[in-house]
């Protein structure tokens, strides 16, 4: 009798735990379903060609609506690209320093501090970009900078993703076996040569995966960009003017009072599915690169 009860209970627990794990699958299915279903209504009224290749974005405008998403995509990549420009040198150098040069005492302090940096919310970075970076850093150097501009967003998003790159690259470098380094040192190489010509090349796919993940994060960044970069969609490469990103647009519409069922409201989902596809693609590629890297060293 006891055994049956126990067995039933075990089965029940097993089932419950399985259902909890399934929640994640349901979440993904939910995201995909919602995005497809809602943007289907949008694409019933706007052609996909207009959307993906049009260069004017003004979906809520009544007299001259434009449904080309390119300005938003351009703005997103302008900010994300600028962020990588900041984060890759700093993150990579930081990782090399942490794994090849830094004494244990500094490492123990520096690594957790970087993690704290990663924990600061996006709004705080946005506030800082708007109230400090633009007026006191960018404006003095580039007087034509507007109040809202892509550069300040790129800078703070770059700092936001430094910990991502630096910590993943550090893990990648540490995965390179010690025997490889010893072999290089025994060939009368200096530390610089060992770090840059043996360790980094050996860990290169790990580095690439780290950069890709950081890129995806920068693309998905919302609040910092919404505050710092502005709300004017523009197809431009000028970092000192205001632009709008995919994420910024969704925030803008959500803050407004666009009624459900209108084209303006449905545009959120079209933009959302674009954003989702871009980040998902980058993430999947990064995971693939990562697992191949891990295969080599484990």
């Amino acid at each position: 009798m006891m055994r049956t009860v126990t067995r039933l209970r075990e089965r029940g627990i097993h089932a419950f735990l399985f259902l909890c794990a399934l929640v994640t699958i349901v979440t993904t299915l939910g995201i995909v379903w919602v995005l497809i279903e809602e943007s289907r209504q949008f694409f019933a009224r706007v052609s996909a060609a207009d959307f993906f290749f049009g260069s004017r974005w003004a979906p809520t405008s009544t007299d001259e609506p434009g449904f080309g998403v390119l300005p938003l995509v351009c703005g997103t990549f302008l900010v994300a690209g600028g962020a990588l420009l900041v984060a890759i040198p700093v993150g990579l150098a930081g990782a090399i320093y942490l794994s090849e040069y830094a004494p244990l005492s500094i490492r123990r302090v520096l690594k957790p501090t970087l993690e704290v940096l990663a924990g600061i919310p996006s709004v705080v970075y946005g506030y800082f970009a708007l109230t400090f970076v633009t007026p006191y850093v960018l404006r003095p150097l580039f007087p034509n900078t507007e109040i809202f501009n892509a550069a300040s967003a790129a800078i703070v998003v770059g700092v936001m993703i430094i910990p991502t790159i630096s910590s993943l690259c550090d893990d990648a470098f540490r995965a390179v076996p010690r025997s490889l380094r010893e072999g290089a040192y025994a060939m009368a190489a200096t530390r610089l040569e060992v770090s840059t010509r043996v360790v980094v090349p050996a860990a290169i796919s790990g580095v690439i995966a780290a950069v890709l993940l950081a890129l995806a994060r920068a693309i998905g960044e919302t609040m910092a960009v919404a505050l710092a970069a502005g709300m004017t969609p523009k197809l431009t490469l000028n970092p000192f003017t205001s632009i709008q990103t995919l994420t910024g647009y969704i925030v803008q519409v959500s803050l407004g009072d666009t009624p459900a069922g209108t084209l303006g409201y449905q545009s959120i989902f079209a933009v959302g599915i674009t954003l989702f596809l871009i980040t998902m693609t980058i993430n999947v590629i990064a995971q693939r690169v990562f697992s191949r890297f891990r295969e080599v060293y484990e």
Partner: protein
């Protein structure tokens, strides 16, 4: 292991009645080594510490040039530590400190100002487990030479080194292939080739065959025998038969101390020290 020798008096020890191995018949009398008058490396009262633990205690040892000197002893006796000191690889171990002197060509290489990078070009090392770079065979051999500013023809250097390492014929058609495609024994010979490519004076070998099968081991032992014509070899091994086959001088270490050093033939037939005798006959270690 049969314990043959009983009833030892501490002084003159008779040869064991049933040797556990055969002295190689390969060595012709005319090549019986005399200690070379030129000694390339000399340790003087050298002690090496990991923190407070003394891995090497007060060792005084001369390495003669153009000979193979083997360092034998049970696990943990300090032989690898001593070897690694000779090209300053112990620098990479956090708590490692030393006392005493270690001379290479008359200069104390343990002196704080001494340039370790230049030393490592002249004193090369081959490690226990083959550790080629994840690059092509060609690049593995050429890399060290090119960062050290080799001015001559790099391709000739690579071919030369691979020939000396008895690997050329096996890889000459696939120099661009990854080094990881080679077998364990081939990889180790590749590591020897890349060390040789720097045209060092001394080759330090830290148990180079311990990760290899017997056939690969035999090939490398042949190689070592040929290498001594051009280089001075210091070989650390836990395989006594290997030391007997390959070296002219043997040093026996135990618990960080140098117990005995002598010509190999003498060491293995009439060791002067009881501990050496016990080790050689397999009483411990």
């Amino acid at each position: 292991m049969v314990d043959v020798v009983e009833d030892q008096s501490a002084a003159s020890v008779e040869a064991p009645r049933m040797p556990l191995f055969r002295m190689p018949a390969v060595r012709a009398p005319s090549t019986l080594p005399m200690p070379s008058s030129e000694c390339v490396i000399r340790a003087e009262c050298l002690s090496i510490y990991y923190g407070s633990f003394a891995a090497v205690r007060d060792v005084t040892l001369e390495i003669p040039s153009h000979r193979v000197t083997a360092i034998i002893g049970p696990s943990g006796c300090g032989k690898s530590t001593l070897l690694r000191a000779m090209n300053r690889m112990n620098d990479f171990i956090p708590n490692s400190t030393s006392k005493g002197k270690l001379f290479y060509r008359g200069q104390d290489i343990l002196r704080p100002g001494h340039d370790a990078v230049e030393l490592r070009r002249r004193v090369g090392m081959v490690f226990q487990k083959p550790n080629p770079f994840p690059k092509s065979i060609y690049k593995n051999v050429a890399w060290g030479a090119s960062i050290n500013g080799y001015q001559g023809n790099l391709e000739e250097l690579v071919e030369n080194a691979l020939r000396q390492a008895a690997l050329w014929d096996e890889v000459k058609d696939k120099l661009q292939d990854s080094a990881y495609d080679l077998s364990g024994g081939q990889q180790q010979r590749l590591c020897i080739a890349r060390a040789i490519a720097l045209e060092p004076e001394v080759l330090l070998m830290d148990e180079p065959c311990s990760a290899l099968d017997p056939i690969a081991t035999a090939r490398i032992e042949d190689l070592i025998d040929k290498l001594k014509a051009r280089y001075t070899v210091v070989l650390v091994t836990h395989n006594m038969q290997q030391a007997a086959r390959v070296s002219e001088r043997t040093a026996f270490m135990y618990m960080g101390e140098l117990i005995e050093v002598n010509d190999t033939t003498i060491m293995f037939t009439k060791p002067g020290n009881k501990q050496t005798q016990d080790y050689i006959t397999g009483r411990f270690g």
